[in-house]
């Protein structure tokens, strides 16, 4: 599976939290460090942090998000929030390790690394609770033989009873896209896929079954992600549905800045819109609103695949 591409933006989104958003122009490593998820590090590692308004999502920070090597993303994806990612601007910013997963200044000092890893290491079936695509890939970027423990691999954490876990897993909560049309159909009716946007602090989920066409999907996504591109947001970046913001996003989307892509069953990334809608919903596993500059090279592949399929 082409994990690297997938993790590219996963890394970004994982490392950022709306409240931690900084309107900084920092380049490469430092920029991401400011916006990384692990709440402690920006304060500690980048003393030059100037903007203390935690609620404003800056357009610059998002849109100018530098493409981070996927090692960062993988590592970011593979760990607990507190681990990793300290250090100024060096490659492997989020690699688990600056010296091992469990240390680094502010991190869990005193935590027994052995015990942490014991629980985290995916060595026995009982440990793995939820499958996490990036976990498998993470180990290749981790610190030697220490596989960074994805949160999902820590047995029994967060402490949710099995009944609740199984209930939520079988019937995921409906997508709150704000227009009230999302019906959480029981059982076979759901087709939830994650949607990420380059530069956005977190992902959303959409149920493809509720849309009938590319147009429906596209306008729903525009509403969902409009706030990220405008710099106006509620406390969590919940879509504000402001008319101005939508049109701005549409401009962005229809302009050359962003394209909508998806990962298909084979793990390949394709441009959305090339295949008939039903074929698309059958094969789409996740969506990504990608910057146009990075989408170069996708189109030909999509065409080829289409040809191969028919």
């Amino acid at each position: 599976m082409s994990k690297p591409i997938e993790h590219d933006y996963i890394g970004l989104s994982e490392q950022q939290l709306p409240s931690m958003e900084k309107s900084s122009d920092k380049k490469d490593g430092l920029h991401l460090k400011d916006t990384e998820l692990r709440l402690g590090l920006p304060g500690s590692e980048s003393p030059e942090r100037e903007d203390h308004d935690q609620n404003v999502l800056s357009l610059k920070s998002f849109v100018s998000g530098a493409k981070r090597g996927f090692s960062d993303a993988l590592d970011g994806g593979g760990n607990w929030v507190f681990s990793g990612g300290s250090g100024g601007g060096t490659e492997g910013l989020f690699s688990p390790r600056r010296g091992g997963k469990n240390n680094g200044g502010k991190d869990l000092s005193g935590l027994d690394s052995g015990s942490v890893l014991k629980d985290g290491a995916a060595q026995k079936p009982s440990v793995v609770q939820e499958k996490k695509p990036q976990v498998a890939a993470t180990s290749s970027h981790g610190n030697g033989n220490i596989a960074p423990a994805s949160k999902a691999l820590v047995v029994g954490w967060p402490p949710i009873r099995s009944f609740r876990k199984n209930t939520l897993a079988a019937h995921p909560p409906k997508n709150d896209d704000g227009d009230g049309n999302a019906e959480a159909k029981l059982g076979s009716g759901c087709l939830y896929v994650k949607v990420s946007m380059d530069g956005a602090p977190y992902l959303r989920k959409v149920d493809l079954k509720i849309y009938g066409s590319y147009k429906d999907l596209s306008s729903a996504l525009e509403k969902m992600f409009s706030c990220f591109t405008i710099g106006q947001c509620g406390s969590h970046g919940v879509s504000s549905g402001d008319g101005l913001t939508e049109s701005r996003l549409i401009d962005l989307l229809h302009g050359s800045e962003y394209v909508l892509t998806y990962e298909d069953k084979d793990g390949d990334w394709m441009l959305v819109g090339d295949v008939p809608w039903e074929m698309f919903t059958d094969s789409c596993k996740r969506l990504r609103i990608m910057k146009s500059t990075e989408a170069i090279g996708l189109a030909p592949r999509a065409m080829e695949k289409c040809k191969n399929r028919t």
Binding site: E14, G43, Q54, S115, K124, V155, P159, A184, V238
Partner: protein
């Protein structure tokens, strides 16, 4: 009581003027003590003197056993001859989170065998975290002709066949409460096993089960059980079916709806609303699986007198919750999913001034990438509007020390404070400091605190605070916290009322374990997993304290000298004989 009776008893051979024995005949004392319900009061009473001990044991009808291995069924039966109701808890709480091996124990069968012999008139059995098989359920169903109430919470090992046996044989059943169990759901036919002549059911909760039941059988059952006050349906029951049930059961006090999401015609919606509005006694609402916002207004007539609303299986948005809560001014207990976000919690603060309990569960707890949910802002908003809060369970992805300090200042009456910052070891996200001061504020301000669950990045300072201030603390849950043995030592030394301590993934070792040597006999249990305790430390503990059971669960592939999971508990029954091979008793 007649003066002449008193005189008679004084003249009885047992009373000796000079030694002044109890001036009450035993029967009187028993009568008085039978009015005592609290098992703690009864324990205190039994310690006064031998007469009182005997009077208490003869008058006790309900026994509560917090750890099934702390005592044996034979010992219980010997001491209490007249028990009609038993509550038993088995596995350590962390078994809910898969930290305890499958075949660990806590099987009810041995108890049932003794009860069948000694308590043939047993009426109630309430089990939590016990293993119970279908054979045991069948045995139960046929051995106790007066059996009335069965409640199974977080148990496993049985299937719907066992429930069928209960439904078939228990002619006097008033309560069947099946909650959050690991049950093998083989289908819904068990419900049809209640005979047509059966009318006594007052509590029916089968929300745990997923398969379809025969709705006609259910409708008839509800129709003829006129005393039914608690009905919690499973997801397979539709809105339309719910309406039909409610029409026949307007007396219900607690309702768990089935699925709340199918398409309804306008007429059906009106009928549903009408049926609900007839339920004037309803104070608890539960279920609402997959609730569609547009149907929630049907609940408004019921909302005005609701005191407990459990929305933890309904992924509501903040605006949907706000609209609903505007109609729930009397709410005391509220459970929600974090899909309501901070805005939804603001609505809680605005609309529910009487709120005493709030639980916020995560909708996507294992998905690192999707980061919505609630933050410290939501919790703070609730605290401003709900000063009477006593119980909180809050799952979030970020928190600050300042927010917690504000919260407890607004709500000093917390008895249960369970905060779960979902990223292990995460510090205050604004200051980057550990969350020590947050929990320091909790224990300093909330003097009535009985239960505390900590999370986030914590040093030993947190535990110093706990040891110093949390004088009423009885239950403490710790994960991924602490810096050294000193942390646990502070807790063991300071929290005099501690009864249950459960620790995972902390740097506490043998010194910490052994610092509680004197203490463990006054506690129910200690759990330590993935800490730094060694086998030698455990052996030492076992040797020094023979009245404790020290059990170690080893994991495959771990170091021989490490004690991966340690479970220590007091027991008068000695080491247990039913431990599986993975559990070593030292």
């Amino acid at each position: 009581m007649e003066p002449s009776e008193l005189k008679r008893s004084k003249d009885s051979p047992n009373s000796d003027e000079s030694t002044r024995r109890s001036s009450f005949p035993d029967e009187v004392l028993e009568r008085v003590l039978s009015l005592l319900k609290s098992h703690r009061d009864r324990s205190s009473v039994s310690l006064v003197c031998k007469d009182w001990y005997n009077a208490e044991r003869w008058s006790r009808t309900h026994v509560f056993i917090g750890n099934c291995y702390s005592v044996s069924p034979e010992i219980v039966a010997r001491r209490f001859p007249k028990i009609r109701s038993v509550t038993l808890k088995g596995k350590p709480r962390f078994s809910d989170f898969n930290l305890v091996p499958e075949n660990w124990g806590a099987d009810i069968h041995a108890w049932l065998v003794v009860f069948a012999a000694k308590y043939p008139f047993l009426e109630e059995l309430r089990l939590k975290r016990m293993a119970i098989s279908d054979e045991s359920l069948e045995f139960l169903a046929v051995s106790f002709p007066n059996f009335k109430a069965l409640s199974l919470l977080s148990c496993d090992g049985f299937s719907t066949n066992g429930l069928a046996a209960i439904a078939t044989h228990c002619k006097n059943l008033t309560e069947l409460d099946i909650q959050e169990n690991g049950i093998d759901d083989k289908g819904g036919s068990w419900l049809s096993c209640f005979p047509e002549s059966f009318t006594s059911l007052e509590v029916l909760n089968f929300a745990n089960l997923s398969s379809d039941i025969n709705f006609d059988a259910l409708e008839r059952l509800v129709g003829r059980c006129k005393s039914m006050r608690v009905l919690k349906l499973n997801r397979s029951v539709s809105l339309e079916q719910l309406q039909r049930l409610l029409v026949n059961a307007p007396q219900l006090a607690e309702l768990g709806t089935g699925s709340f999401s199918e398409e309804l015609t306008f007429r059906q919606y009106v009928e549903l609303e009408s049926a609900l509005s007839n339920c004037q006694n309803m104070h608890t609402l539960y279920g609402l699986w997959d609730a569609k916002g547009i149907y929630l207004p049907a609940l408004y007539p019921v909302c005005t007198h609701l005191t407990f609303l459990n929305l933890s299986y309904a992924a509501l948005r903040s605006d949907e919750l706000a609209k609903l809560l505007a109609h729930c001014p009397r709410l005391k207990r509220l459970w929600v999913l974090d899909t309501v976000e901070d805005k939804g919690l603001e609505a809680v603060g605005l609309n529910c001034p009487l709120l005493e309990e709030l639980r916020v569960f995560p909708a996507d707890p294992f998905d690192e990438e999707i980061i919505h949910g609630v933050t410290e802002a939501g919790f703070v908003a609730v605290s401003f509007g709900c000063p009477r809060l006593q119980y909180v369970l809050y799952f979030c992805r970020q928190m600050t020390n300042a927010a917690v300090a504000t919260i407890v200042q607004n709500c000093p009456d917390f008895t249960h404070f369970r905060l779960c910052i979902m990223n292990p070891g995460q510090p205050d996200y604004i200051t980057n400091e550990p969350m020590d001061e947050a929990f320091g504020a909790v224990v300093k301000t909330c003097t009535k605190l009985q239960r505390l669950s900590v999370s986030g990045r914590l040093t030993d300072l947190t535990f110093e605070y706990i040891g110093r201030y949390a004088k009423n603390l009885e239950t403490l849950s710790v994960a991924f916290a602490g810096s050294s043995d000193w942390g646990m030592q502070c807790v063991m030394g300071g929290c005099s009322k501690l009864r249950k301590l459960e620790i995972r993934d902390c740097p506490f070792g043998n010194a910490a374990l052994l610092s509680g040597l004197e203490k463990y006999e006054s506690m129910r249990s200690l759990w330590m997993s993935a800490c730094n305790v060694t086998m030698n430390g455990c052996r030492l503990l076992a040797r020094e304290m023979p009245r404790l059971n020290v059990e170690v669960m080893k994991e495959d592939g771990s170091d021989d000298s490490q004690a991966d999971k340690v479970y220590v508990y007091r027991s008068i029954a000695g080491p247990r004989r039913d431990a599986p091979p993975s559990v070593l008793t030292l």
